[in-house]
């Protein structure tokens, strides 16, 4: 007797390939690069069958302000040294040893400034897997926030790309709304936000536990 209804097998496995196809479809070099990186990355609470589809962090150009400040900070003592040759200021309590320590301390603090800002960029990550989304927010030395959401809890995704720089370098903010009560996830300054939004939108409602 022929079957009237045959239940389809779980679509969990297909999500990975379909999203990869979707990402390939957009053929954006940044997305391809993200896919390449994602194969080597692992995160805490990652399940055995969980595969990373997209590994996203802010566009490198978003580092421009702090890199500029760092360059100014590095040059600043040299400017002071050059100008001090023309101006004769004599303070008896400033010794050569003190100047040496002050300069070394200054450059060490500048180094820390660079390190912390790099960490802020490096550890602000949005990961899209075949089972869910992981949002890692790192906004300072004393604060970091990690949010995990299953794909079937995602309700909506949208992106914003405003401004000259964002249009020029093709980066923007991606916002992911989750089912009531749960916190919303966001990726700030993500490269190719439209491609990412499409990949996420394609996976809405899929994943573990979906009908």
């Amino acid at each position: 007797m022929p079957d009237i209804f045959i239940a389809k097998k779980e679509s969990k496995v297909n999500i990975d390939s379909s999203l990869e196809k979707k990402a390939n479809h957009h053929k954006k070099t940044q997305l391809e690069r993200d896919l390449k990186i994602s194969r080597k990355v692992s995160f805490s609470n990652q399940k055995e069958d969980e595969k990373i589809i997209l590994f996203l962090r802010a566009h490198f150009i978003t580092n421009f302000p702090w890199i500029t400040i760092s360059v100014i900070l590095v040059i600043f003592p040299i400017i002071i040294w050059v100008t001090s040759n023309f101006v004769n200021i004599s303070l008896p309590f400033i010794t050569a040893g003190l100047i040496t320590i002050l300069i070394l301390f200054y450059y060490l603090t500048t180094f820390a400034y660079v390190l912390i800002n790099f960490m802020k960029w490096f550890y602000n990550i949005l990961i899209i897997t075949n089972l869910g989304i992981v949002d890692i927010d790192y906004s300072g030395l004393l604060y970091h926030d990690v949010a995990f959401t299953k794909l079937n809890l995602i309700e909506d995704v949208n992106y914003i790309k405003t401004g000259f720089l964002r249009s020029l370098f093709n980066f923007g903010d991606v916002f992911i709304q989750t089912a009531g009560g749960k916190e919303n996830l966001e990726g700030i300054g993500i490269p190719n936000p439209s491609g990412v939004a499409h990949v996420i939108a394609d996976s809405i409602g899929k994943g573990e536990g979906s009908g």
């Binding site: 805490s44 320590i101 390190l115």
Partner: protein, 89 residues
């Protein structure tokens, strides 16, 4: 009687020296600098802990290791600066 007067004079000189030392700018600069660098060393230790904690959350091959090594070098530099300040200032 004479020796008692001499002792009192010596005490006064001692007090004056202590006061002079207390008002000496160099001493205060040295104390402030050492305190600052000491606080900075603690801060660099916090950076190491943060890098270690973040590497547990997300592991990116090679880069995670590199960042940890950089933060350790940063701590070593901070401690070295503190020791140099103790010796030089």
């Amino acid at each position: 009687m004479l020796s008692q007067i001499q002792l009192e004079k010596e005490k006064e000189v001692d007090n004056f020296n202590t006061l002079n030392l207390f008002l000496n700018v160099n001493i205060w600069i040295k104390i402030i600098m050492l305190l600052l660098i000491f606080m900075y060393s603690i801060f660099s230790f916090i950076i190491i802990n943060q890098v270690r904690a973040m590497n547990k959350i997300i592991y990116i091959p090679s880069t995670s290791h590199m960042l940890f090594i950089i933060s350790v070098v940063h701590l070593i530099l901070a401690v070295s600066l503190f020791l140099a300040a103790v010796a030089i200032l």
